[in-house]
Every structure is written in structure tokens, then in C-alpha cells.
């Protein structure tokens, strides 16, 4: 198998700007539909945090011609599934069905994205579900540590500092008109990407997508540039106490490179060394394995259109929070101070390139790679060039990325766990 590339990915631009990418795959009779619209939390006012996500969650609740029951009855009746969810920069959609049901999925998707009726009673149910989720979040150590980390790492006015799903006080006050207005202004074909991978015929898909979205009109939502994100120059630490918990979650990190930054792949290799390779890289080896401090310790580099975070995470016994943080910082210091050895680098490069066939094993894996290629303008031959790009990363490049983005002495650190008085009590 050769990797998907310009020979077998068809890119087609509809008259209204919608970009369609199709790759046929007949290994299994299924098909995946995925993509995004250029609207998200980026476009919501701060006092309405959660509006973009709330809007996206409400779209499949009813349209001008279909009820909630009709939408889900049609999808689930043929074993298909579909969802729409609001992100920061984009609103994503995804669906899966047997190949012959693609027209049904496209028809329903088009109806929900373009002609939602936002039935008031359904909107209230969605609100209730979001409120329940936020209530669960308030007692979830992992989610609270992450939420707190974003607040610490990004300036207050930056969209990344604000919760995507919002807060109880914002969700409560968002009105029906706000949802309708956000949909009217924000949703349109400009910047929309549709990816189809699976047991389909490309020519037919082009026709079907054109029929579903070709006559959608609308101008792009104007966007202010993202606020500047400075380097963190001090320790910003906050602890969230949650009663009745037995474990603490730690998130330590920084604003990282954007996906389009020239040193993004250097940072990706660096992150692989730090907390991905094998059983979670150096962090897994030191924090989890040698010191037995945690069930899990690893790192994640987000990338994305803006300066998404670069995080080091662990779940530890409350008594081990301090040694675990010390151990994480030690590994960060090491990767900043010492060039990575040739063997370790070559192992990580081999992992990053060698794992590509596995990522491309499923239709969903291929579709998500194609969507990234389009969003970040990487070129249809990106997957075929990937090995060469990763092989070109040097120990100097890895160390430079570490020094540019990480700092063992200046970071954002969020900890969520039981209050100190409860430690040791079970």
C-alpha cells in the first residue's frame, strides 16, 4: 500500500468555496464523512462562553422539515451515526455508515447545518445536558486540572483561556435568540471542508456533496487576529480542591507552537522523546516506572491553528504530587539542557514514521489525516513526504524546540485533587 496522496485523493472545490476531498477504500463496506466549518468559540463573546458549542449541540435537534426523532430514527435505523460539535477555531462534523447510506448522511448533515429550527423545548434539553456535564466536570479532577491550566497559561482575553463548553453562569443566560443569531451569522460555506473516505465512487460523491451544499450561500465571518501569547516567565500555580477524591491530577505546561510554525515537527519529535515513545517516553519511564509515582505520566503537544498548549500530565496519589512535579520538571530540564542522543532520536523518528500505516488503517484515520492536510495547507503529498520531514529533524532542532517552548522554572501548573486535610483518608 502506498500512502494516500495526490494520485488517489480527489480535491474538488465547489462554486461557493466548499472544499471536498474524497478517497475511495473498498476494504470494508463502510464510509466515513468528516469535516469542519469555519466557526467556533473564537467567534463568541466572552460573556457567552459555550455559545458555539451549545449551538452545535442543538443543530441535530430538529430542522425546518425534520423532527429530532426523524433525524435520529433515520440515522440509527441504518446503523449510521453522526455528530456535530463546536471547537475553538472550527465546528466539526463526523459520521459513519455503510457506503450506500452516504447520500442519507449528506442530506441530514446539510439539513442540520443549514436549516436547523432549534426547537425551543429541545434547546432546553440540550441546556440541561450541558449543565449536568458542567456539574460532573466540577467534580472531575482531570477535567478541572486541564480547565485551570488553560486559564493560567493564556491571557484572559484569549479564546484558549475560556472553557469551550462554557460555565454554568454563561450557559444559564444564553437565550434562544443568541443561538439563532450565532447560527445565522457564523454558519456558511466559506472555509467549509468535507472529507469522504470509504466504499464510495468519487464521481458520485462529488455530485452528492454538490447537491447537498453547492447552493449554500454566505460570506465568511470576519475574525480579529488571536491575541498575542507571551512566553511564561514565572511559575503560575493553582490548586483546585475537590472533596471525596482519592487521586490528584497534574497538568504542567506552556503555550506551544502552532501547527504551521516552522519548528512544529522539531517540537513533535521532542514531545515524542519526552512523553510518547514506548510506554510514554522519558516521563513514563521516570515518573511512572522508576519512581512508581503515578499510574500515568505523559506529554501532549496540541498544535492547531493558534498556539495550542504543550502539556505534561500525570495522575498521582495526593501524597505524591510534589515529587511527581519535581520529577516532571527534571525531565523538562534535561531535554532543554542536553541534546537528545542519536539512538533515542532515531528510535523516535522510526516510531513517528513507522506508525503511519497503523494510523491509516481505518477510514476514520485516513479522513482525519486528510482534514489536517487541508486545514494546515500541508499539500496532498504530505503523508508521502512525512518520513523525509521527520528524518530531517536533528538533535539540535529538538533541543532548540525544547528551549523555545519549554522551561523547567517558568510554567503553568494546575493540580486538582482532594483537600490536603483529606489526604490519606479513603
Amino acid at each position: 500500500m502506498s500512502f494516500p496522496g495526490p494520485e488517489d485523493i480527489t480535491r474538488h472545490v465547489l462554486g461557493n468555496g466548499v472544499v471536498l476531498l474524497v478517497r475511495e477504500n473498498r476494504v470494508s463496506p463502510s464510509v466515513v464523512l468528516t469535516g469542519s466549518l469555519k466557526v467556533g468559540a473564537y467567534d463568541e463573546p466572552r460573556q457567552m462562553a459555550g455559545l458555539a458549542s451549545f449551538t452545535a449541540d442543538s443543530l441535530m435537534r430538529g430542522t425546518e422539515t425534520r423532527s429530532f426523532d426523524e433525524i435520529y430514527g433515520a440515522l440509527e435505523g441504518v446503523g449510521a451515526s453522526m455528530g456535530i460539535s463546536g471547537g475553538t477555531h472550527t465546528t466539526g462534523f463526523g459520521g459513519k455508515s455503510l457506503g450506500n447510506e452516504l447520500p442519507l448522511m449528506l442530506d441530514l448533515l446539510s439539513d442540520c447545518l443549514r436549516r436547523p429550527s432549534l426547537p425551543r423545548e429541545e434547546v432546553e434539553k440540550v441546556r440541561g445536558e450541558i449543565m449536568a456535564d458542567l456539574a460532573e466536570r466540577a467534580h472531575d479532577t482531570g477535567r478541572m486540572a486541564n480547565l485551570t491550566f488553560y486559564e493560567l497559561a493564556y491571557p484572559k482575553e484569549h479564546p484558549y483561556a475560556v472553557s469551550l463548553t462554557g460555565y454554568p453562569e454563561t450557559i444559564e443566560t444564553i437565550g434562544w435568540d443568541d443561538l439563532a443569531e450565532f447560527h445565522r451569522r457564523g454558519y456558511g460555506p466559506r472555509g467549509m471542508v468535507v472529507v469522504v473516505v470509504g466504499a464510495v465512487e468519487t464521481g458520485q460523491v462529488v455530485e452528492q456533496v454538490d447537491e447537498a451544499f453547492g447552493d449554500w450561500e454566505g460570506e465568511e465571518f470576519p475574525r480579529e487576529p488571536l491575541p498575542e501569547v507571551g512566553r511564561i516567565t514565572e511559575v503560575r500555580q493553582r490548586t483546585v480542591s475537590i472533596a471525596d477524591k482519592t487521586q490528584s491530577d497534574i497538568v504542567l505546561g506552556y503555550p506551544g507552537p502552532a501547527r504551521t510554525d516552522p519548528d512544529f515537527l522539531d517540537a513533535r519529535v521532542c514531545n515524542t522523546v519526552l512523553g510518547v515513545f514506548g510506554l510514554m517516553g522519558r516521563l513514563g519511564e521516570k515518573v511512572r516506572d522508576q519512581q512508581g509515582l503515578a499510574y500515568s505520566s505523559y506529554s501532549r503537544l496540541s498544535g492547531g491553528p493558534g498556539r495550542g498548549p504543550w502539556r505534561v500530565l500525570a495522575g498521582v496519589s495526593p501524597a505524591n504530587v510534589e515529587p511527581a512535579v519535581a520529577s516532571m520538571r527534571k525531565e523538562i530540564r534535561r531535554i532543554c539542557d542536553e541534546p537528545v542522543g542519536r539512538d533515542e532520536l532515531s528510535d523516535c523518528q522510526a516510531y513517528l514514521t513507522g506508525s503511519m500505516p497503523l494510523q491509516l488503517e481505518t477510514n476514520a484515520g485516513v479522513a482525519s489525516s486528510i482534514l489536517s492536510i487541508e486545514r494546515y495547507d500541508l499539500g496532498l503529498d504530505y503523508l508521502q513526504r512525512y518520513e523525509e520531514l521527520i528524518r530531517a529533524v536533528t538533535p539540535d532542532g529538538v533541543q532548540a524546540a525544547a528551549r523555545r517552548w519549554l522551561d523547567p522554572d517558568a510554567y503553568a501548573l494546575a493540580i486538582a485533587g482532594p483537600p490536603r486535610s483529606e489526604e490519606g483518608a479513603r
Binding site: D133, Q247, G278, L293, S317, N320, A350, L358
Partner: protein
């Protein structure tokens, strides 16, 4: 190629797809399936040991042994196996479940032999160094503490403990805290030497491989491993439940949860398939593997009755195939401040309906269509195919999965009503409530 017993089955269902089942002289069962979907191969070793084989005092020991098998051997010192796999671009992991412990790697097909070397080696050469056991004890205690942070884990643990008071399925796979604090290196080693032997194991290989060449490789790496002792039989049989059981968990939080368990039929009984259809009608099609997953369930009966009626924010059902009869569970996440009594009553009303009125033929047909689609999805990857072959061989045999759709298709609306009446019996249910502190 030598030392094979005659293959039990060897069939060619398609010119490009060959399936072979055989058993080595040391009792190791081998299933190989060629599929040219992608240039990768997936290699799995399944041991017929899990929390089903445990008893109080050593709960969690299977899971702990799984962890220790990542601690290295003289040939593959700690960390070197996962690095070797990662270097080849593979994924490598293990899992412990009620009925089994499995280790697998998926790799570019031409490099799959590496995982045979690793698995053959740790089938006999795992080390149980006391210092490593202690380090892992704190990791596992930390894993258990992490799980206890979740209200649903706490509720499910109480539900299972109440529903199954004799069978080991009633204890969590992670183990009870007191056992995790006291299990010794010697106990771990003895457990390993008893259960992690070729005659208690199953190998599954799928992918872009040549079946006969793969059998030779398996023989080369595993054929020389001596047969081990026969594992002790699991004799526990859950006695009949003679009345409703109820448990309550009270903890900090805002969200109430409800869970109910009902005794389920064994996987080889026709009732199992009728109950699978009933589950799809009540809560939507679930993927049925230990990895979970499934479709949305917004057109299911319980979604309409509980979530659409604003009594809950989520509802799900779980019918797991297991070696011994298990429980069928229904779970709902309530609304903050909502009444668990109202939620339970609405659930009972829906269950009463399926016991007294036949479901619609269209609902049965929909459940079958959903299962067909789920099967197509699970077969997209060679890893998914290997998982299903091994998983079904553990609790029944590999033909179980192949025949699953036919067995579902044979289910009638009357079958569904009968299993509802027989199994969703209020006088033999176990009900668990999670009451958040904000409601007390």
C-alpha cells in the same frame, strides 16, 4: 513445518483470504487469518485467565501480572520490548478482563515476527523482582485511586458486588484495595507459572501475512515452550437471587446516577441473542466488546422515556459476552438535583411495557441492521478482526462472532417479549443509587 496436530479446521472462503486453526503439541491454540486490507499484521496472545479466576485475598492479581509482564526479561530488559516495537512503528499493549488477559502488537506486516519473539519470551521468562513488584504496587494503587475518583466506577463496583455475591465476576478486575496492599511477589510468580502457559493460551494473527508461513513462525517461537500445569477449574456458580437487592453510594458531587443489574443468559443460549435485540431496542446498539463504543442511541426506547423526558441526561445498556453467565446492566446519569426515585419509576414503566406488549417488527429489524453495520466497522482494521477472533474464542469459539448476525436474525418479537419477562424480573433485580452530597 512439523509438530502440528492436524488443523482442526482449515478453510478457504475466498481466494485471497485463508483462515487456519490449529493446536501445537504443547496445547497452544493458534488462529491465523489472512487479510490484505492494509500492509500491517496484528499478533495477539490471549491467556484464559482474568478476574474470573481470582478469589478474595488475591483480587486484582491477574491485572497485576499483566503489569509485571511489561517489566522485562533477561532477553528483553525493562522497556526494551516496547521500544523495539515502537521503533518499528507498532502499537503494543495489554489488557486484563474478567475472562482473559491479552497482549497484542500491530506492526507493519513484514516486521510482525518481533512480537512473536517478545510474547514467546515473556510467556516463560518474566521476572518478579521484589523491588519492581513494590514499584508496581504503588502504580496499581494509584490506578485504583484514579478509578475511585469516578462516581460511575464506585457505583458499578457496588452494583456488581451486590448482584453477584458468590461468583468472582462480582469483584472488580482492578482488585480490592486490601488485596492490592498485600499481594506478595511469591503469589504473583506462582499465579504466573500456573496460568500463563501455552496450554492455557490462544494465539491470534491477522493481516497481510501468509498463513502457512505464519504457522511455521509460531511453531518456531512457541513450539519449544513446555506445557504447564492444568489451571484450576473455576467452580463458582452464582446461586439464584431470591429477591430484589438495593445499594446506595453517597459521595460529594452534584449528579445522581442509577444502575440496575439483571441476571443474563449464557452466550450459547438462544435467549442471549433475543436479549441482545432487546438491549438494542431499549438502549441502542452497543459494540459488545470489552473496549466499549457504539452508535448514538437517541431513537431507543429508554432515551425517549428518560432523556427526552428530562429525567436523565444519558442512558446506556450493557450485555457482555462472558464464559459464565453474567449480568445485563442498565445505567442512567440523572440531572443535577433530579430525583432518582422518579428516574427509577420511569425506567420500570418502560421495562413493564416490553414485558407485556410485543415490540414492533421494525424495531427488531433495526437492531439487526445496526448490528450488521457495527460488524462492518469492526472489520475495517486488522486489529479489530484479531480482537473479535480472540475475544469470541475465549468465551465461546471463533464461529460465535461469525454466526452472531444469523442468530440475531432468527429472533422474533415474541422471543423479545419472553426474555424481557424472564430476565427483567423486578423481584430479581439489583438496583444501585449514587446520591450526591448536594441532595442529602
Amino acid at each position: 513445518m512439523a509438530n502440528f496436530r492436524s488443523p482442526l479446521t482449515s478453510c478457504t472462503s475466498h481466494s485471497a483470504i485463508q483462515f487456519v486453526q490449529t493446536e501445537l503439541d504443547n496445547g497452544l491454540m493458534v488462529l491465523v487469518k489472512e487479510t490484505q486490507a492494509a500492509p500491517v499484521a496484528s499478533f495477539w496472545v490471549w491467556y484464559r485467565v482474568g478476574s474470573r479466576n481470582e478469589h478474595l485475598g488475591v483480587t486484582g492479581i491477574s491485572h497485576w501480572v499483566e503489569h509485571m509482564l511489561f517489566k522485562g526479561t533477561p532477553s528483553f530488559p525493562k522497556g526494551s520490548a516496547e521500544k523495539a516495537i515502537a521503533r518499528q512503528g507498532g502499537v503494543f499493549n495489554g489488557a486484563t478482563w474478567y475472562d482473559f488477559t491479552t497482549f497484542y502488537a500491530t506492526l507493519p506486516a513484514e516486521r510482525i515476527e518481533l512480537s512473536l519473539r517478545i510474547e514467546a519470551d515473556r510467556m516463560v521468562n518474566a521476572e518478579f523482582d521484589p523491588a519492581e513488584v513494590e514499584a508496581e504496587r504503588s502504580v496499581i494503587l494509584s490506578e485504583r485511586q484514579g478509578a475511585e475518583n469516578s462516581p460511575q466506577f464506585l457505583l458499578h463496583e457496588e452494583l456488581m458486588g451486590a448482584a453477584l455475591r458468590v461468583h468472582p465476576y462480582g469483584s472488580p478486575t482492578i482488585g480490592h484495595m486490601c488485596d492490592l496492599e498485600t499481594i506478595s511477589p511469591a503469589q504473583l510468580r506462582q499465579y504466573y507459572e500456573t496460568h500463563y502457559v501455552p496450554n492455557n493460551a490462544l494465539i491470534v494473527v491477522t493481516g497481510d501475512i501468509d498463513a502457512s508461513g505464519m504457522l511455521e513462525l509460531v511453531e518456531e517461537h512457541f513450539g519449544g515452550i513446555a506445557r504447564g500445569p492444568e489451571a484450576p477449574m473455576v467452580t463458582a456458580v452464582e446461586p439464584p437471587q431470591r429477591g430484589e437487592r438495593r445499594v446506595v453510594v453517597r459521595r460529594e458531587g452534584f449528579v445522581p446516577y442509577l444502575a440496575e443489574a439483571f441476571r443474563a443468559p449464557g452466550v450459547r443460549e438462544p435467549d442471549f441473542f433475543a436479549l441482545a435485540v432487546l438491549n438494542a431496542i431499549l438502549t441502542g446498539a452497543s459494540a459488545m466488546t470489552f473496549q466499549g463504543g457504539g452508535l448514538t442511541n437517541k431513537s431507543s426506547r429508554l432515551y425517549r422515556a428518560l432523556v427526552a423526558q428530562k429525567l436523565a441526561v444519558d442512558v446506556s445498556g450493557m450485555l457482555l459476552p462472558t464464559i459464565d453467565p453474567f449480568v445485563y446492566t442498565l445505567s442512567a446519569v440523572g440531572r443535577p438535583g433530579g430525583s432518582l426515585a422518579d428516574l427509577e419509576e420511569a425506567l420500570e414503566t418502560e421495562l413493564a411495557r416490553v414485558k407485556t406488549e410485543e415490540v414492533l417488527t421494525e424495531e427488531v429489524e433495526k437492531a439487526i441492521k445496526q448490528a450488521q453495520a457495527q460488524f462492518a466497522y469492526s472489520r475495517e482494521s486488522v486489529t479489530g478482526q484479531a480482537l473479535w477472533l480472540g475475544f469470541s474464542e475465549i468465551f465461546a469459539d471463533h464461529t460465535w462472532a461469525e454466526n452472531y448476525l444469523n442468530n440475531l436474525s432468527a429472533v422474533t418479537v415474541e422471543d423479545v417479549r419472553q426474555v424481557a419477562e424472564l430476565y427483567l424480573d423486578r423481584s430479581r433485580q439489583t438496583v444501585a443509587w449514587y446520591i450526591p452530597a448536594s441532595q442529602t
